[in-house]
């Protein structure tokens, strides 16, 4: 059987393009002003801040309580199509990534800020991509204004009017699901200007924040049951869609691979640390659970205009949603942070660890009789 020996990368080398192709216009007329409605002229006069994005599970430096008024917060992301290893069994996938990671980086702004994203589609890529922000208003979340071919870039500005954690993902017409389950999604956190608040208005600050992006992958196998590998994303398309249609993922992982947040890469904390966990799943329902701990403050559907739930054991994040949980660690030890569909956690990969150092509290737990005969 012969396949045409067309190297798309060779052809693409001929496609040279520079400069922003899309003039981006705000959909100001469509938004209900939460704060003051701003005309484009107002935006010009706002202070501008440039953010350097950081790879998950970490997040770029940010204020929890905003100083000053709304700003234009500038981000830049380069889309990279790259082969990533999902586990040690030979499972590899051509991931489409925002900025080279699965999930894409967590972006943080405050309510009323303007997000200004420069989105670059690397010239070595094969596919057209775009970005749909669940936190944005109009134009399919920005998707209709950001379609970039390899070698192109675009700049989108939108006003962050709804406080919460939100998914963003690629949504090219006709291929949305495939791009999303190729890893092309991430999250943005729009904090209230005065920070997170509990049910009674009490502040809910955090000492550190981790971003967990859960991803379902659908890897084709050959007749012998071995993982198939491909020379380019396009070649994997048809087989992958066939597996996707079974709705049965072969992998459900945190941060792009089995074990990406365990062992040397485990999250860390100290007893007394208030740790915020942002958890996104762009495609499929999930049910996070901290084994040995709790969800002290949980916005399971991630939107800060709703009061958080308190002291949960497990919380439910519907597919296409990001959620936030804040927990203060009270005991040292190893905690497992899992999707409490335990098959997905322990057979398919959706498990992470938190290493917590500090003093043991006998009042909370004490072994009275060690297991004995």
């Amino acid at each position: 059987m012969t396949m045409p020996s067309v190297s798309r990368r060779t052809i693409l080398a001929g496609a040279a393009l520079a400069g922003a192709l899309s003039q981006v216009r705000t959909a100001a007329a469509e938004t209900t002003a939460v704060l003051t409605s701003a005309t484009p002229t107002d935006v010009e006069s706002l202070p501008r801040v440039k953010v350097k994005l950081v790879d998950p599970p970490f997040v770029h430096e940010h204020e929890q309580i905003a100083t000053g008024g709304p700003k234009v917060v500038q981000f830049e992301m380069t889309i990279q199509e790259k082969k990533i290893k999902l586990d040690d069994s030979g499972a590899e996938i051509w991931a489409s990534t925002f900025n080279g990671t699965v999930p894409g980086p967590l972006m943080v702004v405050h309510e009323g800020d303007y997000v200004e994203l420069t989105l670059i589609n690397a010239p070595t890529n094969e596919l057209m991509h775009n970005i749909d922000f669940h936190s944005a208003t109009g134009a399919l979340g920005g998707g209709a204004l950001t379609q970039v071919n390899p070698g192109e870039k675009t700049i989108l500005r939108f006003k962050a009017t709804k406080p919460g954690v939100f998914v963003y993902h690629c949504a090219p017409p006709g291929m949305v699901a495939w791009h999303v389950v190729s890893g092309m999604n991430g999250a943005i956190m729009v904090l209230p200007r005065d920070g997170l608040k509990g049910r009674d208005g009490e502040p809910v600050p955090y000492d550190k924040l981790y971003y967990i992006g859960e991803q379902d992958f659908y890897l084709p196998r050959d007749e012998k049951g071995n993982w198939k590998t491909y020379a380019s994303p396009g070649e994997s398309y048809e087989d992958t869609v066939a597996v996707m249609k079974t709705l049965t993922p072969t992998h459900v992982v945190f941060n792009g691979a089995v074990g990406a947040l365990t062992g040397d890469n485990a999250m860390t904390a100290k007893v007394g640390d208030r740790v915020a966990f942002v958890h996104s799943q762009a495609n499929r329902d999930t049910r996070p659970h901290l084994i040995g701990g709790h969800g002290n403050y949980v916005w399971a559907t991630g939107k800060f205009n709703n009061p958080p739930e308190l002291g949960l054991e497990t919380w439910f994040i519907p597919g296409g949603t990001a959620g936030l949980m804040v927990y203060t660690f009270e005991q040292p030890g190893i905690y497992a942070y899992v999707n409490h569909n335990l098959i997905e956690a322990f057979e398919l990969g959706a498990a992470a660890h938190v290493k917590v150092e500090g003093e043991w509290n006998d009042d909370l737990m004490k072994q009275i009789l060690a297991p004995s005969a």
């Binding site: 798309r8 959909a27 398309y237």
Partner: protein
């Protein structure tokens, strides 16, 4: 991709079908129509933009650079299965038990494998037609697919709503039946089956062209992983896509089916 089982099954069907599809026994050349360079007025292909907003592609006088012969009809399923039996093509995504129908469910890559097979078999150069060659061959049956609505710089939604309405109209009027090759229509050049339920691949890459207010080209770039497919309207589709219904259209409403015809370069 395709399991050997599928391939064998399809090949068997292909062999059976030969008995009642004698018109195109392997070895026979397809019927060809010669196209000679002559200027004609043509709505250019590609995505055209002015100030970041989509505009209609301009109409220009164009002509094919050299004479070619184009297949009178699209490649049929019977033709395709001969290539499959030779091991040079893979089974199509469309039905394999109706040799008289145009082959459907083939990607741009698949179509090029068929052209390579034809070239090897005959010693002549066979390839997909360009957008201009296809339009020349389609002659009066070529449909101008311009939307006729210009982008409103102050409101991008005006264009999206117009496009949506145009696409809804197109799908309402779409003839979804795939008919035997040669039976749909014939134009003044003797070329058959233009339009209908099968879109045809071309060798033309999707290009994005930025123009200024006077129509002068400021910048032009091609994406050669996305190609123009011709039919009732032009679609731009990733080269690996076989079934546009399940996705793959990067611009505009997806075509119903993907097939193709080839040109032979004049000897």
């Amino acid at each position: 991709m395709h399991t050997p089982v599928t391939l064998l099954a399809s090949a068997a069907i292909g062999v059976l079908s030969l008995s009642f599809w004698p018109a195109k026994a392997p070895g026979n050349l397809p019927q060809l129509v010669r196209l000679d360079p002559a200027p004609f007025s043509h709505r250019l292909d590609g995505d055209w933009q002015r100030d970041g907003g989509q505009v209609n592609a301009p109409i220009r006088s164009v002509q094919i650079p050299a004479p070619v012969e184009i297949m009178e009809m699209p490649v049929s399923t019977g033709d395709w299965m001969a290539c499959v039996r030779d091991g040079a093509c893979i089974a199509p995504g469309g039905p394999t038990d109706r040799p008289e129908l145009p082959v459907t469910g083939v990607s741009w890559m698949d179509a090029n494998a068929y052209a390579a097979w034809m070239t090897k078999r005959t010693g002549d150069t066979w390839r997909l037609p360009s957008d201009v060659e296809w339009a020349h061959a389609a002659a009066e049956l070529f449909r101008d697919d311009a939307l006729g609505v210009e982008a409103d710089p102050a409101n991008p939604a005006v264009l999206w709503l117009a496009e949506y309405n145009a696409e809804a109209t197109r799908s309402r009027n779409l003839d979804r039946e795939v008919r035997p090759v040669g039976s749909l229509n014939v134009n003044s050049l003797g070329v058959r089956d233009i339009g209908g339920a099968v879109w045809e691949w071309t060798s033309t890459c999707l290009r994005r062209v930025d123009v200024d207010g006077t129509g002068a080209v400021l910048r032009e770039g091609e994406t050669c992983g996305i190609y123009i497919a011709e039919g009732l309207h032009r679609a731009a589709i990733n080269d690996f896509v076989r079934d546009p219904k399940s996705g793959g259209c990067s611009v505009g409403v997806p075509p119903a089916n993907l097939g193709f015809r080839l040109v032979r370069e004049a000897i």
